[in-house]
């Protein structure tokens, strides 16, 4: 019979092991600050050392998971490339779920936030109540305030779930419009877009 001997968190290895078990049991990303507080570790460098130990460990060929930073926290996810195998194994089809109207609406909210529904509809050229509702239900956007104009319409912003869903740590990680243009430039027809940008400043 094994004794339920208490685990120590003294050495770097033990700390790495503890972090693995914490991340293993929690379904949401865990804030690094929380772990540091728990370790009474004040030096970020020490903490980063433990994390890089973990990261290295997951590089081993017999490991199926990796350490990822998402939504401002640490999270374990499966290795890239496992996707199709897992789909086959579980006989399920894990696919993306957002429709183009929802994604368009989300683009507007993410770049123009806080923004009203009327403005979203205007920019999309079509009524956007449906996609907005869908995104609210999925918790990808939220009401973040009211615009101080007659009728006090709701203002929408992105949520933490938005960051998680798209694997971002912070909204600032989204590329700027300029960067975006470059990203899509090659595939696109002679830069429609760059000129507009230059002229509009």
């Amino acid at each position: 019979m094994k004794e339920d001997k208490e685990f120590d968190i003294e050495t770097i290895e033990q700390k790495a092991a503890f972090i693995e078990s914490v991340l293993f049991v929690s379904k949401e990303p865990v804030e690094p600050e929380k772990i540091m507080t728990f370790f009474k570790c004040k030096n970020i460098k020490d903490f980063e050392e433990i994390l890089s130990k973990l990261t290295d460990m997951y590089k081993d060929s017999e490991r199926g998971i990796i350490l990822k930073r998402s939504g401002g926290g640490l999270q374990l996810v499966t290795k890239i490339g496992m996707h199709n195998l897992l789909n086959d194994f579980f006989k399920i089809k894990k696919t993306s779920t957002l429709t183009i109207p929802s994604l368009e609406t989300l683009s507007i909210v993410s770049y123009k936030q806080p923004v009203t529904l009327a403005e979203i509809s205007r920019l999309r050229g079509v009524n956007s109540v449906g996609p907005a509702k869908n995104l609210l239900q999925k918790k990808l956007i939220k009401i973040s305030g009211r615009k101080r104009v007659p009728g006090l319409p709701a203002l929408y912003s992105t949520t933490k779930e938005f960051l998680l869903y798209f694997g971002l740590n912070d909204i600032s990680e989204l590329p700027s419009i300029e960067e975006l243009t470059e990203m899509f430039e090659e595939k696109e027809q002679p830069s429609l877009f760059k000129q507009i940008q230059n002229e509009n400043g």
């Binding site: 368009e104 999309r124 050229g125 975006l180 002229e199």
Partner: protein
């Protein structure tokens, strides 16, 4: 993977801006150089043949069509409207340029979504995960609002059916309560009021209870705030009549 879905969208236009952008791209024109009059006929052509037009958005398409026709007709007049910041044409072109940006962001989000789908999270797969409890952190204020909306909708329906007004008397209510106490010996007041039809009946029942307690006909006890009120007949009470 994303391009596949994206292609579909350019063939079936969600809205008028979608179609306009498609026409501009086809002509390999710079958005800011568009002569709206040049794409008007093509736009109308699409509308006539209903090619790729989302039927539920037809009115949106028609609205834009009328704007296009207006702009074109102005350009045909001997003294065309001066192209300035306030002109309809300028506004339309600006909207289109904005829409073009949104399309780029949308493409990016689609790519990011597809990348994320490839990474599986902990306990993502389960055969039975139905639960009636929510983690409070997982409830958004929007869900809270949804719950409320469903409640009042349900209630609206119920109150629609309930249309026979009745008059309740304290006398009758007291007799009713005493009868229950006679047969059961005990009354759980919270359970009792749940069966009542209206707030009015509830008030009458409550006053009846208070009156009977005051006169010593019954004994009522409430252990603490929010607990149910337990009611018994007062054995010492002798009916005067």
């Amino acid at each position: 993977m994303y391009s596949e879905i994206y292609e579909i969208q350019t063939e079936f236009f969600e809205g008028p801006l979608d179609l306009l952008l498609h026409l501009v791209n086809k002509k390999r024109m710079n958005i800011l150089d568009i002569k709206v009059s040049e794409i008007t006929s093509e736009y109308l052509d699409y509308l006539m043949n209903k090619r790729g037009i989302n039927p539920s958005r037809e009115s949106d398409f028609l609205m834009t069509a009328s704007t296009l026709i207006y702009i074109k007709s102005r350009s045909l007049l001997p003294a065309p409207e001066i192209y300035n910041e306030d002109s309809l044409e300028h506004k339309l072109i600006n909207t289109l340029a904005e829409y073009d940006k949104i399309q780029k962001i949308t493409k990016l989000l689609k790519q990011m979504e597809n990348d994320e789908v490839l990474l599986w999270k902990r306990e993502e797969v389960s055969e039975n995960f139905e639960t009636r409890e929510f983690d409070i952190k997982e409830i958004s204020s929007f869900q809270l609002a949804e719950v409320f909306l469903n409640l009042i909708k349900k209630k609206d329906k119920e109150e629609f059916v309930n249309i026979n007004p009745r008059n309740y008397s304290i006398q009758k209510k007291q007799e009713e309560i005493l009868e229950i106490l006679e047969t059961k010996g005990y009354l759980n007041f919270s359970e009792y009021i749940e069966m009542l039809d209206s707030a009015e009946e509830f008030l009458v029942a409550f006053f009846s209870l208070l009156d009977m307690v005051k006169r010593g006909v019954i004994i009522a006890l409430q252990k603490r705030l929010f607990d149910t009120i337990s009611v018994w007949k007062n054995g010492k009470y002798k009916i005067a009549q």
